[in-house]
Symmetry: C2
Subunit: 375 residues, 2 copies
């Protein structure tokens, strides 16, 4: 696995926060860093050129969705995921596990894998550890994820223990099935909200020499305080010389808490999903651009933001586009929201490099007050 390495450049004096570089065959990822999600081989409403201008370095895509449409054979025919979608930087595909467990109908779980009904044509589809890796090998992202069983929240200890054990057995099958040395396979720590199960899983995975590690099954509905405990317990047990990726997390507070525990990578659909609802992330708040106060507000969304939307347009203009349901609104808000979350992780990175993380971002490490809403 010489194609991948992680270099730590600085560690915070007071927390486990670290600034580093993750090297992949398609380029470097400066960590900590937020990764935008491109579910169906595109980050919704924006082009790869616009995506690059947000500061995005590594981009996700979803194996479950791509397998259903257009199918991995067509992606491969188009030269693999990078070339097919025109994103030539680092990429990651998830295993499909999360979507199978959270989205699909009629699913049946056995030790072999999961069978579910295709929402496209109604046919039954079987996803196994071997099949997920085969599809991800064909798609060709730099980082691919192990096929895991992500238990729901809440779930009993017994259910979570069974899922965590199965995730480990499936990981062994994923490792055997994985065929490409230019792709890094990341295992996923499960264990739900049961800290001893998390510890057990993290220690077992840490013994394997994997090129990077993920923490899954958080931010699935549990309170932020519980999420914080899980990450604080789990992340430090993962090898210090490998990148750590917290799956599905993308709020300021969750990212700051996880970074303080030594997490490097994040992904979340929030910035593009909120954009499509006319919502901007500004000053760590959620702004609904339909609000009457923006109608005649001719200032940029965020004067400190260097993104295309903030440099060229006013709140009033974007509010007009949102009110008129013009698609350009969603494009501009996606550009801004992605830029904003990436900038947040970039600023944290700079603060770690100058050992000012706690001074500059310590206020994010408290769990929120009851009733407090934030982005």
């Amino acid at each position: 696995m010489t194609n991948f390495s992680f270099e730590s450049l600085a560690t915070c004096s007071h927390t486990k926060a670290r600034a580093g570089v993750f090297y992949t065959p398609h380029g470097e990822v400066e960590t900590p860093r937020f990764m935008p999600v491109g579910t169906l081989a595109n980050v919704k409403t924006i082009t790869p050129a616009q995506l690059k201008d947000t500061g995005a370095q590594m981009v996700l895509s979803n194996t479950y969705h791509l397998h259903l449409q257009p199918g991995e054979a067509i992606v491969a025919g188009g030269g693999g995921l990078h070339k097919f979608m025109g994103w030539h930087g680092p990429m990651l595909t998830d295993s499909g596990g999360f979507q199978v467990f959270s989205l699909s109908e009629m699913r049946k779980i056995t030790e072999e894998g999961v069978t579910f009904r295709s929402p496209h044509d109604g046919q039954m589809i079987k996803l196994t550890p071997e099949r997920s890796i085969e599809i991800q090998n064909i798609l060709g992202a730099d980082v691919i994820m192990a096929f895991d069983e992500c238990p729901p929240y809440p779930a009993t200890r017994q259910e979570v223990e069974a899922a965590t054990d199965r995730t480990y057995r499936w990981l062994e099958r994923c490792i055997t099935a994985h065929k490409r040395s230019d792709q890094a396979l990341f295992p996923i720590v499960q264990g739900g909200v049961y800290l001893d199960l998390r510890v057990q899983a993290a220690e077992a995975l840490a013994k394997l020499d994997m090129p990077g590690y993920a923490i899954g099954g958080v931010s699935v509905g549990e309170p932020t305080e519980l999420m914080a405990q899980i990450v604080q317990t789990t992340a430090p047990l993962l090898p210090v010389d490998k990148p750590r990726y917290l799956m599905g997390v993308g709020t300021y507070r969750e990212m700051a808490i996880a970074i303080a525990s030594g997490v490097d990578l994040f992904d979340c659909v929030i910035p593009t999903r909120w954009a499509r609802h006319g919502t901007a992330i500004v000053s760590s708040e959620r702004w609904n651009l339909k609000n009457a106060k923006f109608r005649e507000d001719f200032t940029p969304l965020d004067e400190t933001c260097p993104c295309y939307a903030c440099v060229n347009f006013s709140r009033a203009y974007i509010s007009h586009l949102v009110r008129s349901q013009e698609i350009l609104a969603y494009t501009l808000l996606s550009i801004h929201n992605i830029t904003e979350l990436i900038r947040f992780t970039q600023k944290i990175r700079e603060s770690i490099l100058s050992d000012r993380f706690l001074e500059d971002f310590g206020h994010w490490l408290k769990t929120p007050e009851v009733g407090e809403t934030e982005a």
Copy 2:
């Protein structure tokens, strides 16, 4: 009106086709040229930066739509239409007349103007020549259009004659109402399919020293042959030293026929509307990207096209986006379709400059065979 001038650089030896430059306060427009439509202060699904890359020089926006949403006061508050929407090149607004006559409900036409029901809040709105010009003065486009009565097709000679006469009387009121010397007011030749009425209107307008002239009320349902006769009869009667604009026309054949009669400017919603239906304009054909044959076609939409969509993506990829109803599909197809129509007029311009118009584009001057379909 020293802010505006038209310079003819070359005229075809065999037809009335001409290549020129239209100078406006916000820059030059090389003619003949297709102008994209930005109905609600944006060209649907694309940013001004993407629009500039299509080769667009002059862009339209619609007074009727902008008056309803967000209202001209907000556009003015945002620094005028150019600054509000971030398009810093030449712009044109129509008068609202066409939309009032074709879209609005409960409309009542009198000599004073038109009263109609707002589709937004149900209130009655009155648009008069004075009000249309006032709104356009506030919006601030480089070229503004006279408020005209556009008769439907078909209409009786009596109806068309009344509308044409009223259009002239309304023009006189528009000229009186117009207050800004940095905006050029273009009158509109009406007259329906009645060539003698067209001649009469064109001759009357030609006597006025206007900075440019438009031909309206064509491509409203009449056969292409009739449209060709109207333009061939009307355009040559308009002053040779002023730009001529054929409103609402944007197919290859209609543009070629009109250019051969001395028309310089065109606009049409076709490229963006078709894009939103998953349709590309390639080799003068309409391609539905949902067609099964594109699923595994890894070539660009058009190998000769320099647009962002053709340089970076395959037909298979765009077909995948269209099938998945991903908004990026409409963005990429809008970029391509606009680029394609602008390139068509650019290529004609180059052929006129080298006096090869008839050799290179003569085949477009025939009216189509019955049953022939084309873009």
